[in-house]
């Protein structure tokens, strides 16, 4: 179902973005780490749309 798919995507994004954004784990997320995590998800989605659209354009 939809909720399961949403959670599965969140697991995947966390897997991708945690190493990229979090260095040595500290006592809390810094605002920089937090911003990095949000940007990581958004830019990954942007990248997916960019690639899908460009593939469509190439095909035509």
């Amino acid at each position: 179902d939809q909720k399961a798919r949403f959670h599965s995507m969140v697991h995947e994004f966390t897997d991708k973005c945690f190493d990229r954004c979090i260095g040595t784990p500290g006592n809390s997320l810094s605002s920089k780490e937090s911003a990095c995590l949000g940007n990581c998800v958004e830019r990954f989605l942007d990248t997916t749309f960019f690639i899908v659209n460009r593939l469509e354009a190439i095909k035509q």
């Binding site: 949403f6 969140v10 966390t14 945690f18 784990p25 500290g26 997320l29 949000g38 998800v41």
Partner: protein, 55 residues
């Protein structure tokens, strides 16, 4: 929850136990606890960012 547990264990083992010794030291446990907390926090930040985007 199984998927969360598995990915968190892999990440935190890689981050905290770089040279596996003869037991889990106090500093290994402290690192694992922080890593878990940051992983769960990251999961929440990412969940919100994704929810905002797909709404």
């Amino acid at each position: 929850a199984q998927q969360l547990l598995q990915k968190m264990t892999d990440k935190c083992f890689n981050k905290c136990i770089t040279k596996p010794g003869s037991d889990l030291s106090g500093s290994d446990r402290a690192c694992l606890a922080k890593c878990m907390d940051r992983y769960l926090e990251s999961w929440n930040v990412i969940s919100k960012a994704y929810a905002t985007r797909v709404q």
